[in-house]
């Protein structure tokens, strides 16, 4: 095998310019996969991080049917106190759960006594919400941004667009008017204690109040809530934790219906960004396909040329007694070496570019979000590029190598 590798390597160096050109083409393709994969994955994880840490959590649990009507923020599809206790018991005993936050989400009219507009409100326990969505308090740009107390009784955090649109400042009084689940209307006065950046785009109007205030406003006398947001210890275990929780929740059934009472969703099912993330993944796949095509065509081309140029030489080694399998191995090894070292070069170039981008810390705005692009070296892409290039190189070399091994020595020797 050592001799085969030596001969194959020297044959590659024999046509230096052609080998370098082909290797450069493959290396550029591999580098493109690494860079695109790194940037794409960095963008995805950055946005997902902002979404899940600021608002969504990794997983949410609702009463069955809630998500289907989530645009209306229905109060009549709520998790009863008894159900909440069961869920809390499940979550408390699950070592993969870092934190969870019970919430009441509802729509309300907000008035500054001059103007009125509508607003989405999330009522939370601030300390629980901060543990679940650690970036939320950091997004409060004015006012109290203490994670433990960013909303207290009688205070409200309003989004920047409401503050600007209604000319509201810290300490101003506003009135929230909301309809409870029985249809009756109630109003309460709140003091603006914070103004937060909005993460969901300019159309979003999301404010935060204390959950006890929401219960008063909505006249909820028992411990009903509308959702539980969950934060995991390890985001990469999302699928398995989700599956486990779903399985456990299916066991909690309604007394009358004998059907599961709750539904569970990952962030992907709750955010439109999941579609963008899928498109990014698709684009990475397309770049991978381009790489595969480049490698396939380049190696096939160079190996076919190699075989045609060396017909006489193939005749010589065959007549000396080299077995067809060894002739096949010689050409296969040549293609594999070309692919392997090109992939290594491409990986190195790609990683250097990633490190440069990462050091440069590129910032840009996506919707209302400030994204800081700091791509990490995508280990999966690096391994993928190396493995796929080697596999495709082997496949592309097979046909020319077979052709060489099947040559009749007497005919090959006649070739000039």
């Amino acid at each position: 095998m050592k001799s085969i590798i030596k001969i194959a390597w020297r044959n590659l160096l024999r046509y230096t310019r052609r080998t370098l050109l082909t290797a450069s083409l493959i290396a550029v393709g591999v580098a493109l996969v690494i860079v695109f994969g790194g940037i794409g994955n960095s963008f995805k994880s950055e946005v997902i991080g902002i979404l899940t840490n600021s608002n969504l959590g990794d997983i949410q649990i609702h009463k069955k049917g809630y998500v289907g009507s989530i645009d209306n923020l229905p109060l009549d599809i709520s998790i009863p106190e008894k159900g909440l206790k069961k869920i809390e018991s499940l979550l408390d005993n699950n070592p993969e759960i870092k934190a969870y936050s019970p919430r009441i989400r509802f729509g309300a009219m907000v008035s500054n006594f001059v103007q009125t507009t509508n607003m989405r409100l999330t009522a939370v326990y601030p300390e629980k919400e901060s543990k679940t969505c650690s970036a939320l308090a950091k997004r409060i740009k004015e006012g109290d941004s203490n994670p433990e107390s960013f909303v207290s009784h009688g205070s409200i955090v309003i989004p920047l667009n409401i503050s600007t649109g209604m000319n509201l400042k810290l300490g101003d009084d506003i009135v929230l008017v909301a309809t409870n689940k029985d249809g009756s209307v109630n109003g309460m006065t709140f003091k603006v204690s914070g103004i937060s950046e909005n993460i969901l785009g300019p159309q979003g109007k999301d404010g935060y109040i204390h959950i006890d205030d929401a219960k008063s406003l909505l006249r909820i006398e028992n411990g009903e809530i509308t959702e539980i947001a969950i934060k995991l210890n390890n985001f990469s275990k999302l699928s398995s934790v989700y599956a486990g929780l779903k399985n456990e929740l299916m066991g909690i059934q309604g007394e009358k219906t004998a059907k599961p009472m709750f539904e569970i969703h990952t962030w992907e099912e709750l955010s439109p960004f999941a579609s963008i993330a899928k498109i990014v993944t698709l684009l990475i796949m397309v770049v991978r396909l381009v790489l595969i095509s480049i490698v396939l065509i380049s190696i096939l081309n160079v190996m076919m040329m190699s075989v045609y140029e060396r017909i006489g030489e193939i005749g010589t080694i065959a007549s000396i007694g080299t077995l067809p399998s060894k002739i096949l191995a010689l050409f296969l090894t040549e293609g594999l070496l070309l692919g392997f070292f090109s992939a290594i070069a491409g990986n190195v170039i790609g990683m250097i570019i990633i490190l440069i981008i990462s050091a440069a810390k590129l910032n840009f705005t996506f919707g209302m979000m400030e994204i800081s692009l700091a791509p990490q070296i995508p280990t999966a892409e690096v391994v993928f590029a190396l493995v796929i290039v080697v596999i495709i190189s082997a496949l592309a070399s097979l046909q020319p190598a077979f052709k060489a091994s099947k040559m009749e020595p007497v005919e090959a020797l006649r070739h000039v």
């Binding site: 001799s3 085969i4 001969i7 020297r10 044959n11 160096l13 024999r14 006489g312 030489e313 005749g315 010589t316 080694i317 065959a318 007549s319 000396i320 007694g321 080299t322 077995l323 067809p324 399998s325 060894k326 009749e408 020595p409 007497v410 020797l413």
Partner: protein, 236 residues
């Protein structure tokens, strides 16, 4: 036992719809340790005959035996192995592997064809390098050698696996007069040292003059067999 036996061997080539006979029925026997030359004009069938004896081609009719083995029934793999074990080749254009040094070219059959252990390999190659006078050039590549040097390396490569038979097709055609005599002398010496049979296809009178048996071929047939009693000394 005869080393090579050809029994009414015929070979025809099909070119489109035209059948061209190259050999029209050759029957000869060649014993071990001989220096044999096939002579004749171009197209007389010399190379075709060498290809058949060398297990590179198959006859249309008849049988070819080398070392007692009927070689025309072998498949590709078996014939490759048979060639590697029993036959050495010397070509008109030397046919050295350009990416290998002199040493590595001679080593090639021992590594890629036979599986000779490194120590034995080294000893054999160094002996042969000395015999062909190429020890000083062993690290050079074929492109750095003269025609005569290349052919000396080719002779060493053909003999390194200790074949019973060496086939040489016009081995001196690309060499000048002096170099050609040196190469013939070298092959003569090798024949004595290794008791190897050399079969040439040539119209070079220098080789013809050194052959022990000269077969003259014309139009696919052997028309004359001549035994040369003064062979064995390379005259200059």
């Amino acid at each position: 036992m005869e080393l090579v036996v050809l029994d009414n061997v015929k070979k025809s080539y099909v070119n489109g719809e035209v059948l061209t006979p190259a050999l029209k029925g050759i029957s000869i026997s060649i014993s071990s340790g001989k220096f044999i030359s096939f002579v004749g004009p171009s197209g007389s069938g010399k190379t075709t005959l060498l290809n058949l004896i060398g297990c590179l081609d198959k006859p249309t009719e008849g049988k070819v035996f080398v070392t007692g083995t009927e070689i025309n029934r072998m498949d590709r793999k078996t014939s490759a192995k048979f060639r590697g074990d029993n036959i050495g080749f010397i070509f008109q254009n030397f046919n050295l592997i350009p990416v290998l040094t002199v040493y590595e070219n001679i080593e090639y059959p021992l590594i890629m064809v036979q599986n000779v252990p490194p120590e034995k390999r080294k000893q054999k190659i160094n002996d042969l390098l000395e015999k062909v006078g190429m020890t000083d050039q062993k690290n050079k590549y074929p492109a750095q050698l003269s025609g005569g040097q290349k052919q000396r390396v080719a002779v060493a490569r053909a003999l390194v696996a200790e074949p019973k038979l060496v086939l040489a097709d016009e081995p001196t055609a690309n060499l000048d007069h002096v170099t050609a005599y040196k190469v013939i002398g070298l092959m003569h010496g090798m024949k004595k040292d290794f008791n190897t049979t050399f079969i040439f296809a040539t119209h070079d009178q220098k080789i013809v003059g050194e052959a022990e048996i000269i077969y003259t071929m014309e139009d696919g047939l052997i028309t004359k067999k001549q035994e040369n009693t003064i062979s064995g000394e390379v005259s200059r």
